[in-house]
Symmetry: C2
Subunit: 256 residues, 2 copies
DNA sequence: TACTATTGTGTCATATTGACACAATAATTT
DNA sequence: AAATTATTGTGTCAATATGACACAATAGTA
Protein backbone atom coordinates (compact mmCIF):
# COMPACT_ATOMS: atom_id res chain seq x y z
CA UNK A 1 0.00 0.00 0.00
CA UNK A 2 1.40 3.32 -1.04
CA UNK A 3 2.02 6.10 1.41
CA UNK A 4 2.24 9.81 0.90
CA UNK A 5 5.61 11.45 1.15
CA UNK A 6 4.85 12.68 4.64
CA UNK A 7 3.69 9.24 5.75
CA UNK A 8 6.81 7.69 4.33
CA UNK A 9 8.82 10.28 6.18
CA UNK A 10 7.04 9.51 9.42
CA UNK A 11 7.51 5.77 9.03
CA UNK A 12 11.06 5.70 7.81
CA UNK A 13 12.52 9.14 8.16
CA UNK A 14 14.21 8.34 11.42
CA UNK A 15 16.42 5.88 9.59
CA UNK A 16 18.16 8.64 7.64
CA UNK A 17 17.36 11.80 9.55
CA UNK A 18 18.92 13.05 12.72
CA UNK A 19 16.13 13.35 15.25
CA UNK A 20 15.86 16.60 17.07
CA UNK A 21 17.85 18.80 14.71
CA UNK A 22 16.34 20.77 11.93
CA UNK A 23 17.22 23.62 9.65
CA UNK A 24 15.09 26.66 8.90
CA UNK A 25 16.10 28.78 5.93
CA UNK A 26 15.14 32.42 5.76
CA UNK A 27 15.39 33.40 2.12
CA UNK A 28 15.08 37.11 1.56
CA UNK A 29 14.32 38.33 -1.91
CA UNK A 30 14.83 41.80 -3.10
CA UNK A 31 13.66 43.43 -6.30
CA UNK A 32 12.79 46.99 -7.14
CA UNK A 33 13.33 48.32 -3.66
CA UNK A 34 11.24 45.66 -2.05
CA UNK A 35 12.35 43.03 0.43
CA UNK A 36 10.35 39.90 0.69
CA UNK A 37 10.66 36.51 2.32
CA UNK A 38 10.02 33.13 0.70
CA UNK A 39 7.41 31.05 2.43
CA UNK A 40 5.72 27.68 1.92
CA UNK A 41 2.03 27.20 2.44
CA UNK A 42 0.69 24.30 4.45
CA UNK A 43 -1.60 22.16 2.31
CA UNK A 44 -5.26 23.21 2.61
CA UNK A 45 -4.57 25.85 5.24
CA UNK A 46 -3.73 29.50 5.32
CA UNK A 47 -0.70 28.86 7.46
CA UNK A 48 2.76 29.46 6.14
CA UNK A 49 6.24 28.31 7.09
CA UNK A 50 9.92 28.71 6.34
CA UNK A 51 11.56 26.17 4.04
CA UNK A 52 13.00 23.84 6.63
CA UNK A 53 13.55 20.22 7.40
CA UNK A 54 15.53 17.69 9.32
CA UNK A 55 19.25 17.14 8.99
CA UNK A 56 20.29 13.79 7.52
CA UNK A 57 22.56 11.62 9.57
CA UNK A 58 25.53 11.84 7.27
CA UNK A 59 25.51 15.44 6.17
CA UNK A 60 27.07 18.63 7.44
CA UNK A 61 24.46 21.09 8.66
CA UNK A 62 25.65 23.54 5.99
CA UNK A 63 24.98 20.92 3.32
CA UNK A 64 21.68 20.11 4.95
CA UNK A 65 20.60 23.74 4.71
CA UNK A 66 21.35 23.83 0.98
CA UNK A 67 19.73 20.45 0.29
CA UNK A 68 16.61 21.31 2.24
CA UNK A 69 16.28 24.60 0.42
CA UNK A 70 16.57 22.89 -2.96
CA UNK A 71 14.13 20.14 -2.12
CA UNK A 72 11.52 22.44 -0.62
CA UNK A 73 11.73 25.39 -3.03
CA UNK A 74 13.88 24.41 -5.99
CA UNK A 75 16.38 27.16 -5.19
CA UNK A 76 19.96 26.18 -5.78
CA UNK A 77 23.39 27.77 -5.57
CA UNK A 78 22.34 30.23 -2.89
CA UNK A 79 24.84 31.77 -0.46
CA UNK A 80 23.48 30.59 2.89
CA UNK A 81 24.86 31.87 6.18
CA UNK A 82 24.13 30.44 9.59
CA UNK A 83 22.81 33.11 11.95
CA UNK A 84 21.30 31.65 15.11
CA UNK A 85 20.12 28.44 16.70
CA UNK A 86 16.66 28.34 18.22
CA UNK A 87 16.18 25.93 21.03
CA UNK A 88 13.26 26.70 23.29
CA UNK A 89 11.84 23.46 24.71
CA UNK A 90 8.35 23.93 23.26
CA UNK A 91 9.64 23.55 19.73
CA UNK A 92 8.23 20.26 18.63
CA UNK A 93 6.28 18.55 15.92
CA UNK A 94 3.80 20.73 14.15
CA UNK A 95 0.22 20.25 13.21
CA UNK A 96 1.13 19.13 9.70
CA UNK A 97 2.93 16.12 11.06
CA UNK A 98 0.31 15.48 13.72
CA UNK A 99 -2.45 15.38 11.14
CA UNK A 100 -0.45 13.11 8.87
CA UNK A 101 0.39 10.81 11.75
CA UNK A 102 -3.24 10.51 12.80
CA UNK A 103 -4.33 9.66 9.29
CA UNK A 104 -1.58 7.08 9.04
CA UNK A 105 -2.22 5.30 12.24
CA UNK A 106 -5.42 5.46 14.20
CA UNK A 107 -3.41 4.63 17.29
CA UNK A 108 -1.86 8.07 17.43
CA UNK A 109 1.53 7.96 19.13
CA UNK A 110 2.49 11.30 20.55
CA UNK A 111 5.94 9.93 21.27
CA UNK A 112 6.64 9.51 17.60
CA UNK A 113 10.17 10.61 16.80
CA UNK A 114 8.97 13.32 14.43
CA UNK A 115 6.85 14.96 17.12
CA UNK A 116 9.60 15.22 19.66
CA UNK A 117 11.25 18.39 20.60
CA UNK A 118 13.81 19.70 18.14
CA UNK A 119 16.32 22.48 17.86
CA UNK A 120 16.52 24.45 14.65
CA UNK A 121 19.64 25.98 13.14
CA UNK A 122 18.73 29.11 11.22
CA UNK A 123 20.33 30.06 7.92
CA UNK A 124 19.61 33.08 5.80
CA UNK A 125 20.33 34.17 2.25
CA UNK A 126 19.41 37.03 -0.01
CA UNK A 127 18.48 36.56 -3.65
CA UNK A 128 17.10 38.64 -6.46
CA UNK A 129 13.60 37.26 -6.53
CA UNK A 130 13.05 38.16 -10.15
CA UNK A 131 15.93 35.85 -11.01
CA UNK A 132 14.59 32.73 -9.36
CA UNK A 133 11.50 30.60 -9.78
CA UNK A 134 10.69 28.90 -6.52
CA UNK A 135 8.47 25.84 -6.75
CA UNK A 136 6.85 24.21 -3.76
CA UNK A 137 7.71 20.59 -3.04
CA UNK A 138 5.06 17.93 -3.09
CA UNK A 139 4.09 18.37 0.54
CA UNK A 140 3.42 22.09 0.27
CA UNK A 141 0.58 23.94 -1.36
CA UNK A 142 2.51 26.97 -2.55
CA UNK A 143 5.86 28.63 -2.39
CA UNK A 144 5.67 32.38 -2.77
CA UNK A 145 7.26 35.68 -1.80
CA UNK A 146 5.74 37.75 0.97
CA UNK A 147 6.26 41.35 2.02
CA UNK A 148 8.05 41.64 5.32
CA UNK A 149 5.48 44.23 6.30
CA UNK A 150 2.58 41.93 5.61
CA UNK A 151 3.47 38.48 6.80
CA UNK A 152 0.72 35.84 6.85
CA UNK A 153 0.08 33.56 9.79
CA UNK A 154 3.21 31.54 10.39
CA UNK A 155 3.95 28.21 11.98
CA UNK A 156 5.68 27.90 15.33
CA UNK A 157 8.20 30.70 15.98
CA UNK A 158 8.94 31.34 12.32
CA UNK A 159 8.12 35.05 12.55
CA UNK A 160 10.67 35.49 15.33
CA UNK A 161 13.19 33.57 13.24
CA UNK A 162 12.59 35.91 10.29
CA UNK A 163 13.06 39.00 12.47
CA UNK A 164 16.29 37.65 13.89
CA UNK A 165 17.60 36.91 10.41
CA UNK A 166 16.79 40.43 9.24
CA UNK A 167 18.61 41.91 12.22
CA UNK A 168 21.65 39.79 11.48
CA UNK A 169 21.65 40.63 7.78
CA UNK A 170 21.42 44.36 8.51
CA UNK A 171 24.19 44.19 11.10
CA UNK A 172 26.49 42.36 8.74
CA UNK A 173 26.27 45.18 6.21
CA UNK A 174 28.75 46.98 8.46
CA UNK A 175 31.52 44.49 8.08
CA UNK A 176 30.80 42.20 5.15
CA UNK A 177 30.30 43.04 1.49
CA UNK A 178 27.14 41.93 -0.24
CA UNK A 179 25.98 41.83 -3.80
CA UNK A 180 28.00 39.03 -5.28
CA UNK A 181 25.59 36.42 -6.67
CA UNK A 182 22.80 38.92 -6.25
CA UNK A 183 23.34 41.53 -8.89
CA UNK A 184 24.11 40.93 -12.51
CA UNK A 185 27.73 40.29 -13.23
CA UNK A 186 27.85 43.92 -14.31
CA UNK A 187 25.75 46.41 -12.48
CA UNK A 188 25.48 50.10 -11.76
CA UNK A 189 26.11 51.90 -8.52
CA UNK A 190 22.38 52.62 -8.50
CA UNK A 191 21.71 48.87 -8.51
CA UNK A 192 24.06 48.34 -5.58
CA UNK A 193 22.65 51.25 -3.65
CA UNK A 194 19.15 49.99 -4.21
CA UNK A 195 20.18 46.66 -2.72
CA UNK A 196 21.52 48.33 0.44
CA UNK A 197 18.49 50.63 0.73
CA UNK A 198 16.13 47.72 0.38
CA UNK A 199 17.84 45.82 3.18
CA UNK A 200 18.15 48.83 5.47
CA UNK A 201 14.66 50.08 4.70
CA UNK A 202 15.80 53.66 4.23
CA UNK A 203 17.29 56.06 1.69
CA UNK A 204 21.01 56.66 1.41
CA UNK A 205 22.75 59.70 -0.11
CA UNK A 206 23.91 58.87 -3.62
CA UNK A 207 27.25 60.67 -3.42
CA UNK A 208 28.17 59.38 0.01
CA UNK A 209 27.17 55.84 -0.84
CA UNK A 210 29.29 55.98 -3.98
CA UNK A 211 32.29 57.23 -2.04
CA UNK A 212 31.89 54.56 0.64
CA UNK A 213 31.55 51.63 -1.75
CA UNK A 214 34.57 52.77 -3.75
CA UNK A 215 36.53 53.09 -0.52
CA UNK A 216 36.11 49.33 0.06
CA UNK A 217 38.13 48.74 -3.14
CA UNK A 218 36.29 45.61 -4.12
CA UNK A 219 34.67 47.00 -7.26
CA UNK A 220 36.19 47.12 -10.73
CA UNK A 221 34.82 49.86 -12.93
CA UNK A 222 34.22 49.13 -16.58
CA UNK A 223 35.61 51.48 -19.17
CA UNK A 224 32.29 51.49 -20.96
CA UNK A 225 29.20 53.06 -19.57
CA UNK A 226 25.88 51.39 -19.50
CA UNK A 227 23.77 52.81 -22.28
CA UNK A 228 20.26 52.67 -23.55
CA UNK A 229 18.90 54.28 -20.44
CA UNK A 230 16.87 57.46 -20.73
CA UNK A 231 19.45 59.75 -19.20
CA UNK A 232 23.15 60.06 -18.45
CA UNK A 233 24.76 56.68 -18.87
CA UNK A 234 26.13 55.41 -15.57
CA UNK A 235 29.34 53.45 -15.12
CA UNK A 236 29.15 49.66 -14.97
CA UNK A 237 30.88 47.86 -12.16
CA UNK A 238 31.72 44.28 -11.32
CA UNK A 239 32.99 42.76 -8.12
CA UNK A 240 36.65 41.92 -7.95
CA UNK A 241 36.09 38.34 -6.88
CA UNK A 242 39.38 37.96 -5.06
CA UNK A 243 39.01 41.18 -3.11
CA UNK A 244 35.33 40.56 -2.46
CA UNK A 245 35.92 37.21 -0.81
CA UNK A 246 38.88 38.52 1.10
CA UNK A 247 36.65 41.24 2.52
CA UNK A 248 33.93 38.67 3.18
CA UNK A 249 36.40 36.82 5.36
CA UNK A 250 38.44 39.61 6.94
CA UNK A 251 36.00 42.45 7.07
CA UNK A 252 35.74 45.89 5.51
CA UNK A 253 38.13 47.69 7.78
CA UNK A 254 37.71 50.39 10.41
CA UNK A 255 37.05 48.24 13.40
CA UNK A 256 38.81 47.69 16.67
CA UNK B 1 25.24 -2.63 41.77
CA UNK B 2 26.50 0.90 41.66
CA UNK B 3 27.57 2.58 38.48
CA UNK B 4 29.83 5.51 37.94
CA UNK B 5 28.31 8.78 36.87
CA UNK B 6 29.30 8.20 33.28
CA UNK B 7 27.87 4.69 33.30
CA UNK B 8 24.65 5.98 34.75
CA UNK B 9 24.57 8.61 32.06
CA UNK B 10 25.10 6.00 29.36
CA UNK B 11 22.40 3.74 30.74
CA UNK B 12 19.76 6.30 31.55
CA UNK B 13 20.82 9.59 30.08
CA UNK B 14 18.65 9.21 27.01
CA UNK B 15 15.60 9.39 29.24
CA UNK B 16 16.26 13.00 30.18
CA UNK B 17 18.69 14.21 27.53
CA UNK B 18 17.97 15.23 23.99
CA UNK B 19 20.04 12.95 21.81
CA UNK B 20 22.12 14.60 19.18
CA UNK B 21 22.27 18.11 20.63
CA UNK B 22 24.97 19.32 22.92
CA UNK B 23 26.37 22.54 24.21
CA UNK B 24 30.02 23.57 24.29
CA UNK B 25 30.94 26.54 26.42
CA UNK B 26 34.02 28.59 25.70
CA UNK B 27 34.85 30.46 28.87
CA UNK B 28 37.52 33.06 28.40
CA UNK B 29 39.24 34.40 31.45
CA UNK B 30 41.22 37.54 31.57
CA UNK B 31 43.48 38.86 34.27
CA UNK B 32 46.51 41.08 34.16
CA UNK B 33 46.58 41.38 30.42
CA UNK B 34 46.29 37.68 29.84
CA UNK B 35 43.51 35.83 28.11
CA UNK B 36 42.99 32.22 28.96
CA UNK B 37 40.39 29.58 28.30
CA UNK B 38 38.89 27.20 30.83
CA UNK B 39 39.37 23.53 30.04
CA UNK B 40 38.54 20.20 31.63
CA UNK B 41 40.98 17.34 31.63
CA UNK B 42 39.91 13.86 30.66
CA UNK B 43 40.51 11.44 33.54
CA UNK B 44 43.90 9.74 33.33
CA UNK B 45 44.80 11.36 30.03
CA UNK B 46 46.52 14.47 28.85
CA UNK B 47 43.59 15.40 26.67
CA UNK B 48 41.47 18.40 27.42
CA UNK B 49 38.00 19.56 26.46
CA UNK B 50 35.53 22.42 26.70
CA UNK B 51 32.88 22.28 29.43
CA UNK B 52 30.05 20.82 27.44
CA UNK B 53 27.23 18.36 27.67
CA UNK B 54 23.89 17.31 26.33
CA UNK B 55 20.74 19.40 26.43
CA UNK B 56 17.96 18.08 28.63
CA UNK B 57 14.62 17.41 27.05
CA UNK B 58 12.75 20.14 28.84
CA UNK B 59 15.20 22.98 28.92
CA UNK B 60 15.93 25.93 26.66
CA UNK B 61 19.36 25.66 25.10
CA UNK B 62 20.30 28.93 26.83
CA UNK B 63 19.39 27.37 30.18
CA UNK B 64 21.22 24.21 29.21
CA UNK B 65 24.40 26.17 28.54
CA UNK B 66 24.27 27.76 31.99
CA UNK B 67 23.42 24.50 33.77
CA UNK B 68 26.14 22.56 31.98
CA UNK B 69 28.69 25.21 32.84
CA UNK B 70 27.72 25.09 36.51
CA UNK B 71 27.74 21.33 36.71
CA UNK B 72 31.03 20.90 34.92
CA UNK B 73 33.02 23.82 36.36
CA UNK B 74 31.09 25.30 39.22
CA UNK B 75 30.86 28.65 37.45
CA UNK B 76 27.56 30.41 37.90
CA UNK B 77 25.95 33.71 36.94
CA UNK B 78 28.03 34.04 33.82
CA UNK B 79 26.88 36.06 30.80
CA UNK B 80 26.80 33.41 28.08
CA UNK B 81 26.23 34.30 24.44
CA UNK B 82 25.52 31.88 21.67
CA UNK B 83 27.98 32.28 18.80
CA UNK B 84 27.84 29.38 16.34
CA UNK B 85 26.52 25.90 15.84
CA UNK B 86 28.93 23.17 14.77
CA UNK B 87 27.47 20.36 12.79
CA UNK B 88 29.95 18.43 10.72
CA UNK B 89 28.78 14.81 10.39
CA UNK B 90 31.89 13.29 11.99
CA UNK B 91 31.04 14.83 15.34
CA UNK B 92 30.10 11.88 17.47
CA UNK B 93 30.80 10.15 20.73
CA UNK B 94 34.26 10.61 22.05
CA UNK B 95 36.79 8.22 23.47
CA UNK B 96 35.74 8.96 27.03
CA UNK B 97 32.29 7.61 26.39
CA UNK B 98 33.59 4.72 24.30
CA UNK B 99 35.88 3.60 27.10
CA UNK B 100 33.13 3.89 29.69
CA UNK B 101 30.73 1.98 27.49
CA UNK B 102 33.18 -0.85 26.95
CA UNK B 103 33.84 -1.18 30.65
CA UNK B 104 30.11 -1.16 31.30
CA UNK B 105 29.09 -3.75 28.82
CA UNK B 106 31.43 -6.26 27.29
CA UNK B 107 29.04 -6.41 24.34
CA UNK B 108 30.05 -3.01 23.07
CA UNK B 109 27.27 -1.37 21.12
CA UNK B 110 28.55 1.22 18.73
CA UNK B 111 24.98 2.28 18.05
CA UNK B 112 24.53 3.47 21.60
CA UNK B 113 22.65 6.74 21.68
CA UNK B 114 25.53 8.57 23.33
CA UNK B 115 27.93 7.63 20.52
CA UNK B 116 25.71 8.87 17.76
CA UNK B 117 26.37 11.93 15.80
CA UNK B 118 25.54 15.20 17.53
CA UNK B 119 25.45 18.87 16.80
CA UNK B 120 26.90 21.31 19.30
CA UNK B 121 25.69 24.83 19.98
CA UNK B 122 28.59 27.01 21.03
CA UNK B 123 28.33 29.64 23.74
CA UNK B 124 31.06 31.92 25.02
CA UNK B 125 31.56 34.14 28.02
CA UNK B 126 34.33 36.22 29.48
CA UNK B 127 35.12 36.29 33.17
CA UNK B 128 37.81 37.67 35.42
CA UNK B 129 39.60 34.48 36.23
CA UNK B 130 40.95 35.77 39.51
CA UNK B 131 37.36 36.19 40.67
CA UNK B 132 36.21 32.64 40.08
CA UNK B 133 37.22 29.25 41.39
CA UNK B 134 36.42 26.59 38.83
CA UNK B 135 36.17 23.05 40.13
CA UNK B 136 36.05 20.00 37.90
CA UNK B 137 33.00 17.80 38.10
CA UNK B 138 33.32 14.21 39.17
CA UNK B 139 33.95 12.89 35.71
CA UNK B 140 36.87 15.17 34.99
CA UNK B 141 40.38 15.12 36.30
CA UNK B 142 40.99 18.86 36.42
CA UNK B 143 39.48 22.16 35.46
CA UNK B 144 42.09 24.82 34.80
CA UNK B 145 42.89 27.94 32.80
CA UNK B 146 45.07 27.68 29.72
CA UNK B 147 46.88 30.27 27.67
CA UNK B 148 45.34 30.72 24.25
CA UNK B 149 48.86 30.65 22.86
CA UNK B 150 49.67 27.33 24.46
CA UNK B 151 46.64 25.11 24.21
CA UNK B 152 47.04 21.46 25.16
CA UNK B 153 45.75 18.59 23.06
CA UNK B 154 42.02 19.02 22.72
CA UNK B 155 39.16 16.66 22.07
CA UNK B 156 37.26 16.61 18.78
CA UNK B 157 37.09 20.05 17.12
CA UNK B 158 37.34 22.02 20.36
CA UNK B 159 40.30 24.06 19.18
CA UNK B 160 38.34 25.26 16.15
CA UNK B 161 35.42 26.09 18.44
CA UNK B 162 37.70 28.18 20.65
CA UNK B 163 39.09 30.09 17.66
CA UNK B 164 35.61 30.81 16.35
CA UNK B 165 34.50 32.07 19.75
CA UNK B 166 37.51 34.38 19.96
CA UNK B 167 36.75 35.79 16.51
CA UNK B 168 33.17 36.45 17.49
CA UNK B 169 34.10 38.06 20.80
CA UNK B 170 36.58 40.37 19.09
CA UNK B 171 34.10 41.31 16.39
CA UNK B 172 31.41 42.14 18.91
CA UNK B 173 33.67 44.73 20.56
CA UNK B 174 32.71 46.97 17.64
CA UNK B 175 29.04 47.09 18.42
CA UNK B 176 28.43 45.81 21.93
CA UNK B 177 29.76 47.11 25.23
CA UNK B 178 31.63 44.77 27.53
CA UNK B 179 32.83 44.94 31.06
CA UNK B 180 29.65 44.66 33.05
CA UNK B 181 29.96 41.66 35.39
CA UNK B 182 33.63 41.53 34.56
CA UNK B 183 35.18 44.49 36.28
CA UNK B 184 34.63 45.59 39.83
CA UNK B 185 31.56 47.68 40.32
CA UNK B 186 33.90 50.63 40.31
CA UNK B 187 36.92 50.54 38.07
CA UNK B 188 39.42 52.79 36.39
CA UNK B 189 39.75 53.56 32.72
CA UNK B 190 43.02 51.67 32.86
CA UNK B 191 41.12 48.56 34.01
CA UNK B 192 38.66 48.86 31.14
CA UNK B 193 41.39 49.47 28.58
CA UNK B 194 43.30 46.49 29.86
CA UNK B 195 40.21 44.35 29.28
CA UNK B 196 39.93 45.52 25.65
CA UNK B 197 43.66 45.13 25.04
CA UNK B 198 43.63 41.63 26.45
CA UNK B 199 40.80 40.60 24.14
CA UNK B 200 42.26 42.28 21.07
CA UNK B 201 45.79 41.15 21.80
CA UNK B 202 47.29 44.57 21.12
CA UNK B 203 47.96 47.94 22.71
CA UNK B 204 45.54 50.83 22.44
CA UNK B 205 46.34 54.54 22.81
CA UNK B 206 45.34 55.70 26.30
CA UNK B 207 43.92 59.06 25.23
CA UNK B 208 42.02 57.77 22.24
CA UNK B 209 40.60 54.85 24.18
CA UNK B 210 39.44 57.20 26.91
CA UNK B 211 37.74 59.45 24.39
CA UNK B 212 36.03 56.55 22.64
CA UNK B 213 34.69 54.92 25.79
CA UNK B 214 33.36 58.25 27.04
CA UNK B 215 31.71 58.84 23.68
CA UNK B 216 29.54 55.74 24.22
CA UNK B 217 27.98 57.52 27.22
CA UNK B 218 27.47 54.38 29.26
CA UNK B 219 29.95 55.23 32.01
CA UNK B 220 29.27 57.27 35.13
CA UNK B 221 32.30 58.98 36.61
CA UNK B 222 32.69 59.11 40.36
CA UNK B 223 33.44 62.40 42.02
CA UNK B 224 36.14 60.78 44.10
CA UNK B 225 39.35 59.50 42.62
CA UNK B 226 40.80 56.14 43.36
CA UNK B 227 43.65 56.57 45.79
CA UNK B 228 46.39 54.57 47.41
CA UNK B 229 48.11 53.92 44.13
CA UNK B 230 51.69 54.95 43.66
CA UNK B 231 51.04 57.87 41.35
CA UNK B 232 48.35 60.25 40.17
CA UNK B 233 44.98 58.99 41.34
CA UNK B 234 42.75 58.06 38.42
CA UNK B 235 39.00 58.58 38.25
CA UNK B 236 36.70 55.75 39.20
CA UNK B 237 33.90 54.77 36.84
CA UNK B 238 30.89 52.52 36.95
CA UNK B 239 28.60 51.36 34.22
CA UNK B 240 25.27 53.07 33.92
CA UNK B 241 23.27 49.86 33.98
CA UNK B 242 20.33 51.19 32.00
CA UNK B 243 22.46 52.69 29.25
CA UNK B 244 24.77 49.70 29.20
CA UNK B 245 21.98 47.23 28.53
CA UNK B 246 20.36 49.53 26.02
CA UNK B 247 23.67 49.64 24.14
CA UNK B 248 24.00 45.87 24.50
CA UNK B 249 20.69 45.50 22.69
CA UNK B 250 20.75 48.36 20.19
CA UNK B 251 24.42 48.78 19.51
CA UNK B 252 26.97 51.51 20.06
CA UNK B 253 26.07 53.68 17.12
CA UNK B 254 27.90 54.56 13.92
CA UNK B 255 26.66 51.80 11.71
CA UNK B 256 24.65 51.68 8.56
C1' DT C 1 17.17 74.23 -28.95
C1' DA C 2 15.31 73.79 -24.49
C1' DC C 3 13.92 70.93 -20.93
C1' DT C 4 14.12 67.13 -17.78
C1' DA C 5 16.19 63.56 -15.26
C1' DT C 6 20.10 61.01 -14.05
C1' DT C 7 24.90 60.36 -12.85
C1' DG C 8 29.71 61.75 -11.49
C1' DT C 9 32.22 64.33 -8.63
C1' DG C 10 33.40 68.03 -5.77
C1' DT C 11 32.92 70.98 -1.63
C1' DC C 12 32.19 72.22 3.00
C1' DA C 13 31.27 71.58 7.70
C1' DT C 14 31.39 68.31 11.14
C1' DA C 15 32.78 64.17 13.37
C1' DT C 16 36.02 60.65 14.28
C1' DT C 17 40.46 58.70 14.72
C1' DG C 18 45.53 58.13 15.32
C1' DA C 19 49.53 59.95 17.18
C1' DC C 20 51.51 62.56 20.39
C1' DA C 21 52.43 66.26 23.83
C1' DC C 22 51.87 68.87 28.02
C1' DA C 23 50.18 69.63 32.67
C1' DA C 24 48.75 67.87 37.01
C1' DT C 25 49.13 64.64 40.54
C1' DA C 26 51.18 61.68 43.90
C1' DA C 27 54.59 58.51 45.61
C1' DT C 28 59.43 57.76 46.02
C1' DT C 29 64.17 59.08 46.21
C1' DT C 30 67.74 62.15 47.25
C1' DA D 1 62.04 70.17 51.11
C1' DA D 2 63.26 69.48 46.49
C1' DA D 3 63.92 66.58 42.70
C1' DT D 4 62.67 62.61 40.28
C1' DT D 5 59.69 59.24 38.43
C1' DA D 6 55.48 57.35 36.88
C1' DT D 7 50.74 57.71 36.05
C1' DT D 8 46.54 60.00 34.56
C1' DG D 9 43.67 63.71 32.34
C1' DT D 10 43.11 66.32 28.59
C1' DG D 11 44.28 68.87 24.67
C1' DT D 12 46.07 69.47 19.93
C1' DC D 13 46.90 68.56 15.26
C1' DA D 14 46.73 66.19 11.06
C1' DA D 15 44.44 62.76 8.64
C1' DT D 16 40.39 60.39 7.55
C1' DA D 17 35.53 59.66 7.36
C1' DT D 18 30.83 61.19 7.04
C1' DG D 19 26.53 63.93 6.09
C1' DA D 20 24.47 67.26 3.36
C1' DC D 21 24.32 69.44 -0.65
C1' DA D 22 25.61 71.67 -5.10
C1' DC D 23 27.26 71.93 -9.78
C1' DA D 24 28.55 70.06 -14.24
C1' DA D 25 28.05 66.65 -17.70
C1' DT D 26 25.34 63.56 -20.16
C1' DA D 27 21.53 61.74 -22.78
C1' DG D 28 16.77 61.20 -24.03
C1' DT D 29 12.51 63.71 -24.90
C1' DA D 30 9.55 67.58 -26.02
Amino acid sequence: MNHTIIEDFLLHGHKVNLPGISIDNVIFGFHENQLKVLLLQVVDKNIWMLPGGFVMKKEHIDEAAARILKVRTGLDEVFLQQFYTFGQPERSGNEVLVKALKSLDQRYDKNHWALQRFVTVGYYALVEYAHVSPQPDEISQACTWHDLDKLPELLLDHEAIIQKALEEMRLKLNFQPIGYNLLSEEFTMKNLQSLYETILGRKLDRANFNRKMLSYEILDRKEKHFSGGAHKAPYLYKFNKKKYFKALKSGLGRDF
